[in-house]
Every structure is written in C-alpha cells, then in structure tokens.
C-alpha cells in the first residue's frame, strides 16, 4: 500500500521535477553571465567592423558571428507573430530563409556607418525571461547611444533575442512593419514573402 502510494506519488512528482529542472536551467544564466556574453560578443563585433579586410569579407564574418550570438529563428517567429498560424509550413520555411538573408543585409548596411565604433557595458537587469544588458555605443562624429540587449538562454547558451534603443524594441518594430504588409494585402503571407524578396533584391543591387 505504501509502496503503491510511493509509486503514484513518484509518477505525479516526476513531471514536476522536470519542471524544476527546467526552471533551474532557465535560472542558470545570471546577470553577470549575460553581461560577459554581451561584452565578449560586442568586442568580436567591434573587431570585425574596425578591422581590415574588404567590405565583403567583413559582411561574411559578421553574418557568421550574428548567427552564433542572435537567436535568429526565434526572432523570426516572433516577427511573423500571429501569421505563423496562417502560413503553410512551406511559407514558414521560406519566411525564415528570407528573414535570415534580410538580417544579414541590414547588418552589412550598417558596417560603414559604425566605422571606429566602441562600446561599454553599463549594467544588467534580470527580466521575466532573461536579462537586459545595457551598453553605451560611441561612434566618431555621433552622439553616444544607449542600447539594451535582451539576452535569453536558448539551447543551453545565451542568445540575443531583441535590441532596445530609446525604449523601442527592434523585434516589435519589425513585427509591426511586416504585419502592415500582410494586412495591406488582405492577410496574405505570400505578399509578405514577395515584399521581403523585393527588399533583398533591392539591397543586393545597391551593394554591388
């Protein structure tokens, strides 16, 4: 009888233990870990941007780095928002592919503007799902900018999921931008994919 109760109890407790384990894992990243992650990632970014090499080389290096430090798939799904339920699996895959490409182009676009950039980590605030790391970015000839990096632990390692500038979130802004294209075209996800492809073509021809 006792044994049966124990087995039942254990069976009931097992999922809870799992939850505790997940919670413990989620809490594994401290504010200091997130700060160290942003500090290290930022230094790598600065080294690439200010380093020698052709713009194409820099773009390739940046793309590799961004894929390592940014949770691009998660950000993409966030940006697609409620249309993720409307998109077919093929459209979803295409969206992710285009989103990765667009992100690369948008980053490459910035390289020239950030020549001579430097940054300092100024603090970190734990959030519900992760840590917001504050930095001040200084670029020659420009006023210093305070930029916040939303870091979450994804797949066991810290990843950037959002960038906050002057109280505005990059992923929310992009989500609203994309949603506007979908609603302007009667809720069609394929119209969004076309617009993204056009934007990539435009960026590709501008960078040639």
């Amino acid at each position: 009888m006792h044994f049966r109760r124990f087995i039942l109890g254990a069976a009931l407790a097992a999922p809870m233990l799992g939850m505790i384990a997940t919670a413990a894992q989620a809490q594994a990243m401290t504010a200091d870990d997130a700060k160290a992650f942003i500090d290290q990632s930022g230094q790598q970014l600065v080294t690439i941007v200010n380093g020698g090499g052709s713009p194409t080389d820099k773009a390739t290096q940046l793309r590799t780095l961004v894929n390592q430090i940014v949770a691009v798939d998660q950000v993409g799904d966030y940006v697609l928002g409620r249309y993720i339920n409307v998109a077919t699996p093929a459209q979803h895959d295409k969206f992710q592919q285009l989103f990765h490409q667009l992100l690369s182009y948008n980053i490459t676009y910035q390289i020239k503007a950030y020549q001579g950039v430097s940054f300092v980590v100024t603090g970190a605030t734990p959030q519900a799902d992760g840590v917001l790391v504050d930095t001040t970015i200084t670029t020659p000839g420009k006023a210093p900018a305070d930029v916040g990096w939303d870091v979450e632990e994804i797949g066991g390692k810290p990843q950037i999921v959002d960038v906050i500038v002057a109280g505005t979130s990059m992923r929310i802004t992009t989500r609203n931008d994309y949603a506007s294209v979908v609603t302007d075209n009667g809720g069609s996800v394929s119209a969004l994919l076309t617009a993204m492809q056009n934007q990539i073509d435009k960026a590709a021809s501008a960078q040639q």
């Binding site: 802004t173 609203n176 931008d177």
Partner: protein, 270 residues
C-alpha cells in the same frame, strides 16, 4: 507696434494650425475600411492599430518625405558638414534648456514632484553655471534630463492616446499628443519677456536651428529605416508609439527613483 507684430505672427500661426485641422477634417473622408466584425482576429488587429485615418496619414507621410528630401535633409547634411558633434551637442543642450520650465510645469501637473524638482534644478544650474544652457553641468551633478510634454501630462491623467495622426510638417503624433504643438509654442521663457523684434528673430533662429540640429542627429537613423523597412510608414508609427510608452515609463521610474536614492541613479540599479 512690436507687440502687434508678435501678436500678428501668433495669429498667423494659429490660422495655419486651424488650416491644418481643417485639412485633417477633410482628410476624414479618407478613412481606412475596417474588416468585418465577424473576422475576429483581423478586426481586433485593426482596433489595436488605431489608425482609422491611415490613407490620409499616408498622404501626409509622402508629403513630408518630399519636403524632407528637398529641404530638411540637404540642409541637415550641410549643417553636419560645417559643425562638429560637440557643437551639435551644445545646440541640443541649449534648445533643451529653453524647454525646461515647460517641463517643470508639466511634471507638477503630472504629480511627479521629484521629476519637477530635478527639472527646476536643471534649468537653474544650466542657465547659470551652464552659461545660458550651452553646457549641461546639471547632468554631471546628478540631475539627469527626463523629457515630458503636455501629451504625456494628459496621458498621466488617464487620457487615452486616441487615433494615430501623421501631421504635415510636424510628423508622427496622435489625437492626444497633437496638443503639444500649440503648447510648445507658448511654453518658453521668451513668452514672459517683453516682446521685441530681436526676441522674435531669436525665436525664429533658435527654432530653426533646433529643427536642423534634431534632423542632423537623425540622418543615419531615418536613412536606415527607409532603406531596411518593408513599410517605412508602419515602422515610424510603431517607433512613435513605443517611444511615447517608454517616455511615460521613464517619467514614473525617475520620479520613484528620486524618492529612493540619489537623483540620476541609473534605473537598472533599482
């Protein structure tokens, strides 16, 4: 005579604003068509977007972009070419200092005593030690700048933002926030001084310089949005709304902070 001249200017300005309002009223005919209520998800999204005047707003957005391309942006680029970042910073401090008394009044009306005190101290310190507001020693002394305006005061009183408005010349706004435009014209210390042509010219020069200085500070940001956004109109709308929400949060945070710690302590410390 000079008083009349200033009054005449104000009247013309009021007429211009009235014309703007009439244009908007005409623009009401250019309303967006809401999706049917039966289409719940899209209807909710439409309500949340709160931009029933979108077709008219987009027309003004195009108008402002043309104005920007041929007037504001070239002037701002020329200004950047002949000034250095420190000079542009000082121009920014000066313009900010002139608006500080209006902020103090707004903070008092918002029931934010610490913010009001900080703002008052900023004006006092920067107008004197800061040589008429050209320098910002107040920040170094711990009195950091927090922005506010009449729209944010109304927000604190519980006035909802209302539909989004994109105004000709003035840009992104809302039904509540549009109250800032006339309020800011009258809310400077220059209004208290006796009217004179010199003061009037100073007002024009300061206003124009502030406008160009602000545009210069946004050269890269606006170029970047126009180059990377799929729908720049929707992107600016989103940025405007997020920025207003964040300003409201900052006002509350900074006021609370002053009660718990030294003024100007970074917000993440608490």
């Amino acid at each position: 005579m000079q008083v009349k001249y200033v009054k005449g200017f104000k009247r013309r300005l009021e007429q211009a604003l009235g014309l703007g309002a009439s244009l908007l009223a005409i623009g009401l005919s250019g309303c967006a068509t809401p999706p049917p209520k039966s289409d719940t998800a899209n209807y909710q999204a439409y309500q949340q977007l709160n931009d029933p005047l979108e077709p008219t707003n987009r027309a003004f957005f195009r108008f402002n972009n043309t104005l920007d391309r041929y007037a504001m942006k070239p002037v701002a680029k020329g200004y950047v070419a002949v000034t250095t970042q420190p000079i542009r910073n000082h121009v920014g401090y000066f313009a900010s200092n002139i608006n500080e008394p209006a902020r103090t009044i707004n903070f008092m009306a918002e029931g934010m005593p610490t913010d009001a005190g900080t703002s008052f101290m900023r004006f006092l310190i920067n107008s004197t030690i800061g040589i008429g507001g050209i320098f910002d020693p107040a920040s170094a002394l711990g009195y950091k700048e927090t922005d506010t305006d009449l729209g944010l005061t109304l927000a604190m009183w519980g006035v909802p933002p209302g539909p989004y408005l994109y105004l000709p010349v003035f840009g992104p706004s809302g039904v509540r926030d549009a109250s800032n435009i006339p309020a800011e014209l009258y809310g400077t210390p220059m209004e208290l001084a006796p009217a004179s042509t010199a003061l009037d010219d100073f007002g024009y020069a300061e206003g124009g310089l502030h406008l160009i200085n602000t545009r210069a500070g946004l050269l890269d940001t606006i170029d970047q949005i126009n180059a990377t956004a799929l729908d720049p109109y929707a992107t600016f709308r989103s940025l405007y709304r997020q920025s207003r929400d964040s300003q409201i949060q900052l006002i509350k945070q900074h006021d609370l902070q002053g009660a718990n710690g030294a003024p100007g302590t970074p917000y993440y410390v608490h």
